[in-house]
């Protein structure tokens, strides 16, 4: 046996995640063959015969990887990609194309596609790309969860604590803070300790990093 088909070791196997694949191709045989194959490899596959069909069924909450044909009657793959971006539907996209020229590939990748597979691709190539895509899905999911947690922590802070942490992160000492806010050093210390605990920060640099992340995702 020269190669085995489904035995890729990857993060997805260790993660409890639904491996959802959306296959959009106007060729019925391809939909049939690929969905059959991918299902045999443990993926959940949903097929659509056109971009319009997919858009009709899709909502912002869906998650997973999309196998997308570029050349279709009606809306093309690139057009669907742009539309998804517009609707903030966060899918990882792998293009599958009958003839991929450089220009089209560049455009697809620039717009955030993971890969572009030229038909006919080997099953190995397909699975490798899917694995890569799902690792990104998971990473994104993890990040998403991390951000959720961060958001929750930040929201649990009182107004006073938020104010104190803001100044701490800006580099002010407790004394400076106390003078400015007209309270005792001790009060500041209590707020600061409580805030750090709520944010789950173990040290000042950890607090700074978490606060920066909050700023990044726009909570502050």
């Amino acid at each position: 046996m020269r190669y085995s088909v489904c035995n890729f070791r990857d993060v997805t196997e260790t993660m409890p995640i639904k491996k959802q694949v959306y296959l959009v191709d106007d060729d019925a045989a391809i939909c049939d063959a690929l969905s059959m194959f991918l299902e045999s490899c443990g993926y959940q596959v949903e097929t659509f015969s056109s971009a319009e069909d997919f858009l009709a069924a899709a909502d912002a909450a869906i998650n997973g990887v999309m196998l997308l044909d570029q050349r279709m009657t009606g809306m093309t793959g690139l057009e669907l990609q742009a539309e998804l971006d517009k609707r903030a539907i966060g899918l990882q996209i792998i293009f599958i194309s009958g003839h991929a020229d450089v220009r089209m590939s560049v455009q697809a990748i620039k717009a955030g596609a993971i890969n572009l597979l030229e038909k006919p691709f080997t099953n190995e190539e397909l699975l490798r790309s899917l694995t890569e895509a799902f690792s990104l899905v998971i990473e994104k999911q993890l990040q998403h969860e991390r951000f959720d947690q961060l958001r929750q922590s930040f929201c649990s802070l009182t107004e006073r604590e938020k104010e104190v942490i803001e100044h701490v992160v800006a580099g002010h000492s407790n004394r400076q803070l106390a003078e400015r806010m007209g309270v005792s050093d001790r009060t500041i210390e209590v707020h600061r300790a409580r805030g750090m605990k709520k944010m789950g920060a173990t040290s000042l640099p950890d607090l700074v990093r978490k606060y920066a992340q909050c700023q990044q995702i726009g909570i502050t």
Binding site: V5, F37, H99
Partner: protein, 582 residues
């Protein structure tokens, strides 16, 4: 003459002085007459005795005088009568001459040695409008034009020398109009044999000169046409001897007339570069001599060594009996036309070549796509089969291997197709900065050949600022030709009388140049608009349905786009955007 005059001296003398002499003689005779009476009456003896008597000699003398006087008187009478008759004769002749002189149709002048008019005949005054008093005594040159005066002065010495001369002069009437006259002058000799007067006879030749001049003018005009026409023209006798060749033909070989006239035409420098052409010409002349028009093309070399294609013909000129009397050889330089034809043919070949390549490329692309789909499905099915097979415990020997090989071969087929497609569609792409105005001009030149007499007008709304696109010129030309041709064919089929195709360009967003081809044809139907660019779709009976599909492929390969404007109400509008050259 002198002798004759001398012999007349005596009678002339007699006629004038005869009577006086006779009177004197009688007088002398009568003085001595009484003595004679005396003798006759009183003397004895016979009269003769007494007269001859020696003692009286005076008697005989007296008698002699009387007799002499009688004789001389008679002669004088005779002579005077004769002269009278002669004078009358002369007067008659003079008056006859006068009549003749005045009734002559020519101008007749008698002038003296200096040229002063002594006499002139009646018609001079009638014709010229001058009165007798205005002319007589004036120099004859007064009545000539300045040119003629000069002619007159030049000829006068000759006239004096030889006694005769003639010249054409222009006589000016009193009203200023001019009579062309042929003038002949004859010297009139005087007694001493000197020419001291001249008889000038002038004949009105205005009519004759006019005819001659018209002939001359017509000849000159004919010569001008003959010599300055662009064509090479000559004249041959039926045996092929060159009688004439025009200047254009002579210039072609750099020869003068006398070097070629009289030679056999095929031996002249026009034909010497090719023996086969010489033979052909010889045969053709023989054919033309039979009354046939012969025409053939040949390559000739001019005096600068340039090779030119000449359309040559031999046209026989027949007399009323149908016999060939002359042959007119004629040559036209058709090198430029040949060149243009050649260029057009080449362009068409190139077009066909590009079209073929594009068609192959497009077919390969569409075939690759069509084949890759099932191959992809095949690979998928094989993969599934492998998965399922692997879960089985008892499988025939090599079963998995076979499935794997099947999958591999499907993939290989894909690679083969890809290589084929790459090979065909690669072609030779020569991407450069192309001035759009030049490109469109070239296309219009090209289609103009086909649009002659079609009544369809192709207009280019030229932009003053020269747009440049980054493109393979030949390929974009093909696309544009294709679009224009589509428009033209659509107009033709719909039978619209004043067909018009308009090409314009503008700068579109983001450094893209847009080229628009609009027509006033029937336009694109809405159901056709959706599939217009798909391969094998066509509304034309003879179309392959590849044109627009290929065009779009070409434009897309240039990172551009090609579409039909679906909003347009009247006619069709195709837009092509290409990246600008910045």
């Amino acid at each position: 003459m002198t002798q004759q005059q001398a012999s007349w001296l005596i009678p002339k003398f007699a006629s004038r002085y005869g009577y006086i002499i006779t009177g004197v003689l009688f007088g002398v005779g009568f003085v001595f007459f009484d003595a004679l009476i005396d003798v006759m009456i009183f003397n004895e003896g016979t009269l003769s005795e007494q007269l001859l008597h020696p003692s009286r000699p005076e008697l005989l003398m007296r008698l002699s005088f009387l007799v002499l006087a009688c004789a001389f008187g008679a002669y004088a009478f005779y002579a005077s009568r004769r002269e009278q008759a002669a004078l009358e004769d002369a007067r008659d002749a003079e008056s006859r001459l006068e009549v003749l002189f005045d009734s002559a149709a020519e101008f007749i002048f008698l002038i003296d040695a200096e040229g002063v008019i002594l006499r002139a005949n009646k018609i001079v005054f009638e014709e010229s409008g001058y009165a007798r008093s205005e002319m007589i005594g004036n120099h004859i040159k007064t009545y000539f034009t300045p040119d003629s005066r000069q002619v007159c002065e030049c000829n006068f010495p000759g006239l004096r020398e030889h006694g005769y001369n003639r010249a054409d002069i222009e006589f000016v009437r009193k009203d200023g109009s001019i009579i062309n006259m042929e003038c002949s002058a004859t010297a009139v000799e005087d007694v001493q044999g000197q020419y001291n007067s001249f008889l000038i006879v002038q004949r009105d030749v205005t009519e004759r000169l006019g005819a001659a001049r018209r002939l001359e003018d017509s000849e000159r005009r004919f010569r001008a046409i003959f010599n300055s026409t662009y064509q090479f023209i000559g004249l041959l006798d039926p045996q092929g001897t060159l009688l004439e060749a025009n200047q254009t033909a002579l210039d072609f070989i750099g020869c003068s007339n006398h070097e070629v006239v009289g030679k056999r035409f095929w031996e002249t420098p026009w034909w010497q570069h090719s023996t086969s052409l010489q033979t052909r010409l010889k045969d053709s002349i023989a054919e033309a001599a039979q009354g046939k028009l012969v025409r053939f093309e040949g390559v000739h070399v001019n005096s600068t060594g340039q090779k030119l294609v000449i359309d040559f013909s031999l046209k026989p000129v027949l007399d009323e009996n149908g016999k060939t009397v002359m042959i007119i050889p004629e040559g036209r330089d058709i090198s430029e036309r040949k060149l243009a034809e050649e260029k057009y043919r080449q362009m068409q070949q190139e077009f066909a070549h590009v079209m073929r390549l594009s068609t192959m490329g497009e077919m390969a692309t569409s075939m690759a796509h069509e084949l890759n789909q099932p191959l992809t499905a095949l690979t998928g099915y094989c993969g599934t089969a492998l998965q399922l097979a692997r879960q089985q415990t008892s499988l025939p020997e090599g079963y998995l291997d076979i499935l794997e090989r099947a999958s591999e071969q499907a993939h290989r087929a894909g690679v083969v197709i890809r290589h084929l497609r790459d090979f065909v569609s690669k072609g030779k792409n020569e991407m450069t900065c192309v001035a759009l105005n030049n490109l469109v001009d070239g296309v219009i030149d090209f289609v103009d050949w086909e649009l002659r007499d079609s009544g369809i007008e192709v207009v280019f709304h030229r932009q003053s600022d020269a747009h440049e696109v980054f493109a393979d010129k030949v390929q974009i030309e093909q696309v544009l030709i294709n679009l224009v041709r589509n428009s033209v064919e659509a107009i033709r089929e719909s039978g619209i009388s004043q067909g018009k195709v308009e090409i314009s360009s503008r700068v579109a967003a983001a450094n893209m140049i847009e080229l628009r081809v609009a027509d006033n044809g029937p336009g694109v139907s809405s159901e056709m608009a959706g599939v217009l660019f798909d391969p094998y779709r066509t509304s034309k009976e003879q179309g392959m349905g590849m044109g627009l599909s290929i065009s779009r492929s070409i434009v897309e390969a240039h990172n551009g786009s090609l579409w039909v404007d679906k909003e347009r109400q009247q006619g069709a509008l195709f837009c092509m955007q290409l990246p600008g050259c910045d």
